[in-house]
Symmetry: C2
């Protein structure tokens, strides 16, 4: 393979039942790198305007990046993309694990699926070959069973299995896609796209290795990382993504009881530290990553086993504090169920918290819930609802539509309890206390999504690395509660960082500002692997390209500035904790949004200007229509 990429993707047409290989030119990799940006390129070109996300015209795209398959920690994430059944817009979600590098080892940089199968199938990709196989025997089974069955069937315990679950089969709008039963493409409901296509799973296995173009330069970066990263000092390794729960709680920004509160009285019983002391049995990792932030937990009395990993911060907060639940073992069970049914743990917890508030306010009754006592704090109700949602049973059928649609159906003011943007439920970060999130949630192409842009603390002076974004000229800290011009700039720059990371398949926990890998070292590594002479400037332009293409996709689907908004609760005061009484100011938010558009090179309506399209080489994608699909890629 050329260094860093094969220049080949696997095409799959499920309606026709066939697969073929497509060659891609180098310039596509240089301009888009892979993963999120390259996926946005294909999504905009190939999904027709107005396509049904659950119909055959939608694409389901899996793409690695030019770094995937290397042994630098955190470089092996990959993206899934498709038009989202949850938002009706741009859908993208990254996962770690082992599947991405294994796909690369099997000879492909990505897989693009179109059409819908008549009967369930799975795809088996191994060393340059691909087969579609019958999957009736996998349909309706939980993820662990599917994984085990395929390993047995294909006679290889080292295959890597990506699958949708029972939730995806049932077209739950926030169904997810998982690999190895614990690494999730959580957001945007791409599991329902996979379910609608009746593509149950993709198993991959390969033996090709990525050889850097400049091995010595690549080694220099690996050595640099080894010298600068000390895992025994890293809270992420020691306590997982839930390492910060106590700090968040003390700061009044731990989302609690459907975002009414920022402080949860049982936070110390759901923290990463507490988890490490109680139910942790192992620290898992993704391919070739020294951080090993993953958890594996065991709760014998509830049947929780390590195969399904352990709860991340988002899962703990969404299915814990957000629902008023402080029982970590029950949360671990919820995590296992979410993994078995393959649901987005954020949207699921959020829709349950929404239902709890509706129940509290009398908008849902025991009649609606099938007798469930749906009050905040009822851990059993959470786990029961997860199953009901996945199987679309009773109230679960309503909640499977997500908070936006459910609130519309419930009516009577239920909308005010539906914490979402563009139909996607809030992740577990509080915009009233980390105000860059106001922009992140409102303006992200995927709706409320913390993986598309950074959180505030990384702009602040209390960050342990000082000013980790000094490389970008962000030399001064900006307060978390600030939403003025300097915050907009910090947000805008960091959003470029995040877009770049998502296009490189780089984990946020490895690159700055969260991790230690400097942007300079990252550029060095991209050059070492690919043999290019790129710069941080060019790489940031990839990030801009990805963000701009996603914007164009949504504009084409009818989104406007009026979709870049926040739910009313964000302009109401937090009820408790260190930030009790704090609310966003609507005028300040709107001014920040306008400034952000302008920084992006978008007009006052949020439409990219001609100059920005030209600068990014995206004239072909102008809002007035893609008239020449092969021009100026």
């Amino acid at each position: 393979m050329p260094h860093g990429y094969h220049g080949r993707i696997l095409r799959v047409d499920l309606s026709a039942g066939k697969t073929w290989t497509e060659e891609l030119p180098e310039v596509l990799y240089r301009r888009y790198l892979g993963a999120s940006a390259l996926g946005a390129y294909f999504l905009l070109r190939e999904v027709p305007a107005g396509a049904d996300p659950l119909g055959p015209d939608n694409r389901l795209i899996f793409l690695t990046s030019v770094l995937c398959g290397t042994t630098l920690s955190g470089t092996n994430r990959y993206s899934a993309l498709g038009k989202s059944p949850l938002t009706g817009g741009f859908g993208e979600s990254e996962a770690g694990g082992w599947w991405g590098p294994e796909l690369k080892a099997a000879g492909y940089d990505g897989i693009m699926v179109q059409g819908c199968a008549e009967r369930p199938v799975y795809l088996w990709v191994h060393d340059g070959e691909a087969e579609l196989r019958e999957a009736a025997h996998l349909w309706g089974r939980v993820s662990g069973e599917v994984q085990d069955t395929l390993e047995e069937e294909l006679g290889d315990s080292r295959i890597r299995v990506l699958q949708t679950g029972i939730a995806g089969e049932n077209l739950v709008r926030f169904a997810a896609i998982v690999n190895q039963c614990k690494h999730f493409h959580g957001r945007c409901g791409l599991g329902a796209v996979m379910g609608a296509k009746k593509l149950k799973a993709i198993a991959v296995r390969g033996s090709q290795r990525v050889e850097p173009a400049h091995p010595q330069a690549a080694r220099a970066v690996l050595n640099w990382f080894r010298e600068h990263y000390d895992r025994e000092q890293d809270g992420l390794h020691l306590y997982g993504t839930a390492r910060g729960i106590l700090l968040l709680n003390a700061g009044g920004i731990l989302p609690t009881r459907n975002f009414r509160q920022g402080c949860f009285e049982q936070a110390d019983k759901v923290s990463g530290q507490y988890l490490a002391e109680t139910i942790l049995v192992n620290r898992g990792t993704c391919y070739a990553c020294a951080v090993a932030c993953k958890r594996e937990v065991e709760v014998p009395e509830l049947g929780v086993i390590p195969q399904y990993g352990g709860p991340e911060y988002e899962t703990i907060a969404a299915n814990g504090s957000l629902c008023g639940v402080g029982d970590l073992k029950r949360i671990a069970l919820a995590n296992q169920l979410l993994n078995q049914y393959v649901l987005d743990s954020i949207s699921t917890g959020a829709v349950i918290a929404f239902a709890m508030e509706c129940y509290e306010k009398g908008l849902l009754t025991k009649e609606d819930t099938g007798g469930l006592e749906l009050r905040f704090g009822n851990a059993e109700a959470v786990t029961r609802l997860i199953e009901m949602i996945a199987r679309r049973e009773g109230l679960g059928n309503l909640l499977a539509e997500g908070v936006k649609r459910a609130a519309e159906k419930i009516g009577r003011g239920a909308e005010k309890f539906a914490l979402h943007v563009k139909g996607q439920e809030f992740p577990m970060h509080e915009p009233r206390g980390k105000r860059s999130l106001a922009l992140a949630y409102a303006c992200s192409p995927t709706g409320a999504d913390h993986m598309e842009a950074p959180h505030d603390p990384f702009f602040e002076s209390f960050h342990p690395h000082g000013h980790p974004l000094g490389e970008l000229g962000l030399l001064e800290p900006v307060d978390s509660l600030d939403l003025g011009p300097r915050k907009v700039r910090a947000y805008y720059y960091c959003q470029l960082v995040w877009s770049l990371f998502n296009s490189l398949g780089l984990c946020d926990f490895v690159g700055v500002p969260i991790g230690v890998l400097s942007l300079t070292q990252l550029v060095n590594f991209v050059n070492a692997v690919t043999g290019w002479d790129t710069s941080l400037w060019e790489l940031f332009k990839v990030g801009e390209r990805a963000n701009t293409l996603a914007r164009l996709f949504n504009l084409r689907e009818g989104f406007t500035k009026d979709d870049d908004v926040l739910p009313a609760r964000m302009f109401e005061p937090l009820e408790n904790g260190a930030l009790a009484g704090e609310a966003l100011d609507r005028a300040e938010f709107e001014a920040a949004r306008e400034l952000y558009y302008q920084m992006c090179g978008w007009d006052a309506e949020g439409v990219p200007t001609q100059a920005k399209l030209v600068e990014l080489g995206l004239e072909w994608a102008a809002p007035e229509g893609i008239d020449n699909p092969h021009k100026g890629c």
Copy 2:
């Protein structure tokens, strides 16, 4: 000194006759680097709106950069700045030589002069001390005499002398400033600012050395340069800046006879190759530079001596082909006179060519010229006029005002022969054949100026280094005759490169695209010297900052979009050569200009948007007024 800078500038108030030292904080160096960008910062803050360029309120600023004093080739240029008497707007001009690093060695990063002396003075700066001294004995003397006198007077042949000349004393609007009799701040008439201040010269001497923060990393870049640069293969070393005359002539873009033509029939007699074969006696250099592109020539029969160096390309073309003169020895004499009187060789040649065309058309007569036969090709007329301009004798007094003012005085259509933008005469590069120059000349804050932005060939495939700007994602060549969107992007990006180079004091002949030093190596070197962790992203933002501040300065002085224009001749066909018949298209030019504004983050009137000011940390400089001079530097 801290690595790369002292954090000290020398302040001089000539009206008060005093000097003092000002400390500057590190953040100023990080945000502005020095030279052009830092100078723009001070100019905008300190020169009051509407100030007379020749009055005491104007500043005359000399600034080195954080790289000055290091031993990497090409890093020792520095900037002179002031409000320009030629354009009435932003004035900036860089010079090489030895004066910048000597100033740094003397303990200062720069000198800022205000006020006007009553009687001629010179400034003597040596190892942290500064004295203003009587200069009546230097007034009215040619540059070589001033240099020799000061060396003798100060008893040190290793002092470095910067001076204005007789032209500056006489307030010729395109008078220059020179160091060591051959390194020029040519453009913008800053010599007249110096003359108006009655500051004849600044002699400097020092013994401090720049120690890189990371000596090993600095050495790595020095070694890289040594490995990648071969001076014996470099036309710049072998033939000087006039190396390309034959190519330009063959391409039909050698400015000839006041830009009517692009092909000069005697080009082979004025080429750098011919110069090397005939009058060259030595190849000079700037401080610590391996390129050694400077010429030293001797023409005994005309009294031309090596002390004044030798003619550069611009000098040869402006005083040669542009005036129809093909006698290299006479051009060498012109060069010596220009250096002795300290005139901008570009504007001087251009104003003479203008006068020749007026003479040809009967707008000037022998009566006006004092009997001079002012036809194209008259070499003696050129050298005679240089003296008349410098001394403001006869017709020289009119021409000393520059082509714009002279044409207005002559009237009767003389404007159409005045090739200038914003009052500054065209340099020797042809916008009809290198079309990025249409933007460069029209939009440069200093008027028609080839040092503020690049020329086309560097975007083209025939460049010997392939795609030297691949680091920026400029992967495809753009044709010289193109002025469409892709050219605008290439121009915009390269303009950022040029602005950065001018802020770093980096010579265009060393950095890409003209030289071999990659942008990546440049970033490495800045970090090695300063100890920072900057990136190409942050450095480009310095370039943007410099360009934006200069724009804001001009807006404040009343410039509008209608000053970003080109003279009529550019829309008329070239008369001869390979591009005979080629002209710019006005609609295409205006569309390109609009797109360029948008790329810069300026509105349709060319005014920087709030978002761009915020992004660059320039809120303090908003067009509505600088209300808080110490905020957010």
